[in-house]
């Protein structure tokens, strides 16, 4: 397939010497509505190294799925990417043409969704659906593509793959359907797999099966995974790096151990404190008071301030994305030890200076 070769050429041509497979910088995806512009994703940046898993956590409406769809360039009109850059191996996706995107989707980036039933075509059997994906991307004959499909079904741990390939999605259980989705996503050997709440619709025992499967395939295929979920348990289990999103912005990012052991942002704190954990009974659950702000009526300055137990006057100014460690940043005015920043003559340090600037009367 000449097009594919072309894209590969483009990619290798532009590729810089770096380990990051995908680099998202200041991504902004907006949706104009009658009542105003909804900034679903507003300045999101992260990188994923090849073979690593990035977990994106946040509550519904925080923009995590829109981030994923932006990377696939599957944003439906009137929404569009209004700014920022998404680089896949150095190749700029934001400016890619439809033809180039068609080559990237599936070949380079695959995606699995939360509800497999709505993502599978009910009138084709599973084998044909996977074979279609295979033949579109790898220029194979029908029989060859079908054999590859059966092989993929076997690889995701579905017993009796020949028989299963002839079955239709409605004949399979939820866990099986999700396996078929994964088989289809992996059939073209993508470099990046985007998994949007892949186990949310599944029971715990089936979720455990799917997570183990994803781990095993991650090792086998050496692919990067961008795992979107609201379940902190799944994040702790799977992720190497974590990005916490709130109201369209990244509020904290770090490696997985730091985020669970030393969360900095009050929202991350609140999330971790509010989940009931096994073995910690009868403690009253901590709550994050209030609700997520209306995207059409966001507060000035910090978006979390109305729900934040630490809210202070400086929070009316947009907080800085502070670097707290080599691999840990947080979008908050609090100092590294979670104290309100000092103001006055004795105050020193970046945060104190920025606070002083934000609070100065000239502003």
């Amino acid at each position: 397939m000449t097009d594919r070769v072309k894209v590969k050429e483009i990619r290798t041509g532009v590729s810089e010497t770096q380990d990051d497979l995908i680099e998202v910088k200041d991504l902004r995806t907006y949706f104009p509505t009658q009542d105003g512009v909804v900034k679903a994703v507003d300045g999101v940046s992260f990188e994923i190294e090849a073979g690593k898993t990035l977990g994106i956590v946040g509550e519904s409406g925080c923009g995590k799925s829109i981030t994923a769809l932006s990377i696939m360039k599957l944003i439906e009109k009137p929404g569009r990417i209004v700014g920022g850059s998404i680089k896949l191996d150095g190749f700029e996706i934001v400016n890619a043409t439809d033809d180039e995107m068609r080559q990237i989707r599936g070949n380079e980036i695959s995606m699995i969704f939360q509800e497999p039933m709505t993502s599978l075509n009910p009138v084709y059997n599973c084998g044909d659906q996977i074979a279609e994906a295979v033949s579109l991307h790898d220029d194979m004959g029908r029989r060859e593509a079908h054999n590859k499909a059966v092989e993929m079904i076997r690889d995701v741990g579905i017993p009796d793959p020949k028989h299963r390939a002839k079955q239709y999605p409605h004949e399979l259980s939820g866990g099986m359907r999700q396996r078929v989705m994964i088989a289809m996503a992996l059939s073209t050997d993508p470099a990046l797999l985007i998994a949007d709440e892949p186990t949310t619709a599944l029971d715990v025992t089936i979720q455990a099966q799917i997570l183990e499967l994803m781990k095993a395939l991650r090792e086998k295929n050496k692919m990067a995974i961008m795992l979107i979920t609201h379940d902190l348990g799944v994040i702790a289990e799977m992720a190497d790096e974590v990005v916490v999103m709130y109201a369209g912005k990244v509020v904290e990012r770090s490696d997985v151990n730091t985020i669970f052991a030393q969360p900095h942002h009050p929202y991350t704190h609140g999330l971790l404190a509010s989940i009931p954990r096994l073995g910690e009974r009868h403690k009253r659950l901590a709550v994050i008071k209030g609700v997520v702000p209306n995207p059409l009526n966001l507060p000035k300055g910090c978006l979390f301030k109305r729900r934040c137990p630490y809210a202070m006057p400086v929070c009316d100014t947009a907080p800085p994305f502070q670097q707290l460690g080599p691999n840990h940043s947080s979008l908050c005015w609090l100092t590294a030890d979670q104290k309100p920043p000092a103001i006055g003559a004795n105050a020193s340090g970046v945060i104190a200076e920025e606070t002083a600037a934000a609070m100065s009367p000239s502003k």
Binding site: E59, G157, G175, V204, A208, A216, D231, A236, V292
Partner: protein, 364 residues
């Protein structure tokens, strides 16, 4: 089975051993019709297949299980929202499946329900005042201002603004809607509330608000909950006792501490092992159950769990697992389980099995 209890006065406040609700071999089959005309009876989906339970006054009984295990159906049967196939439910001693419409209406005041989906369970054409006050109207509070006063009290109780009484459900967030559903359940001063996955549809930060609210209301009004959920961490947090359901049957019943510390049914062990813990330093080798939950229309012979049971495999597939349906056995300390080999269920045994299993071949 013990004899039905007479209605006895129960002490108010705190958990008592007195059952407020007793289920006696409750069965619910849904008929499958097929054949040429689609009217002949060709089988049954055995959604609830012989459940006996007691719910004590003032306690929260957690009911956990995977989708399709019959937990929601059981909740509906208890409330007589759908008719049972056989068996009986005694509410404070009264056999509610045998009551007439008028008597049932009186019992319904005492038993209420909070549903899972706060988007589907509130009528979009009714205001909050009408939704919460509907039960009051049905049960004879005809004076509008009296009713509105009560609704305002209820809204305040569940943490909503009293001025929201004239608003419609679409104006509220998921958590707020669930509060409206809770206010509706409380309107008639019930003793017993079936909470059917009340927090599953909510975001984590909102989930904890609603769980705390349910605990507060339980304390304030001496409520008894049947808390149906699939999230074992949530169930552990809120429950006093927990019943684990698999394919229409209760397979284990115990105090919450015993159940989580020393589970005695292989299925409970697997459920507990499957939960991803929110702590990256405790990543563990989980015990993965093979395969899917079998169809309740055609449940396996003998023990219903035997097709997926890790213990059976470890013990060399003893025959009785696939031939004899194990009854619930009292294992002491208020714990009972339906397993022939409950005594051999240990965390150690489970860990041994977990260490040996292959990662990809778990779907078989």
């Amino acid at each position: 089975m013990t004899q039905p209890l007479a209605a006895t006065p129960v002490p108010s406040g705190g958990v008592s051993d007195e059952p407020i609700l007793r289920l006696d071999n409750v069965v619910k089959y849904f008929e499958i019709r097929g054949g040429l005309l689609g009217i002949s009876h060709i089988g049954d989906v055995r959604a609830v297949d012989g459940v006996s339970l007691e719910v004590r006054k003032g306690e929260t009984l957690g009911l956990v299980g995977e989708s399709g295990c019959g937990k929601t159906t059981l909740g509906k049967v208890i409330l007589r929202l759908i008719p049972a196939t056989s068996g009986q439910v005694y509410m404070k001693g009264r056999p509610i499946f045998s009551l007439g419409e008028r008597e049932m209406k009186a019992v319904r005041r005492e038993m209420q329900v909070v549903f899972q989906d706060p988007y589907a369970s509130l009528n979009p054409r009714m205001t909050v005042g009408e939704i919460v006050g509907e039960g009051l109207l049905v049960h004879g509070m005809r004076n509008r201002s009296e009713r509105d006063g009560r609704v305002r009290d209820l809204l305040a109780k569940v943490g909503l603004n009293q001025s929201h009484i004239h608003r419609y459900p679409h104006e509220f967030s998921g958590g707020q809607r669930q509060r409206i559903g809770i206010a509706r359940a409380l309107a008639l001063n019930p003793d017993f509330i079936v909470c059917d996955e009340p927090v599953s549809a909510l975001d984590v930060s909102i989930q904890s608000q609603v769980l705390n609210l349910l605990s507060d209301l339980q304390q304030e009004f001496g409520l008894t909950y049947l808390f149906i959920a699939h999230n074992l961490a949530v169930v552990e947090h809120i429950s006093d006792r927990v019943a684990v359901m698999y394919l229409g049957k209760i397979v284990e019943l115990a105090d919450v501490d015993s159940l989580y510390a020393t589970p005695r049914h292989p299925y409970t062990v697997a459920l507990l092992s499957a939960i991803p813990e929110p702590d990256p330093t405790r990543r563990k080798r989980r015990l993965i159950l093979s395969g899917d939950v079998p169809s309740p229309a055609n449940p396996p012979s003998g023990c219903r769990f035997h097709t997926r049971c890790w213990l059976r495999e470890k013990l060399g597939n003893p025959e009785q697992c696939s031939t004899i349906d194990p009854p619930m056995r009292d294992l002491g300390g208020g714990q009972s389980a339906a397993c022939h080999f409950a005594e051999q269920v240990t965390i150690q045994a489970a860990e041994e099995v977990a260490a040996r299993q292959s990662l990809i071949d778990t779907a078989i």
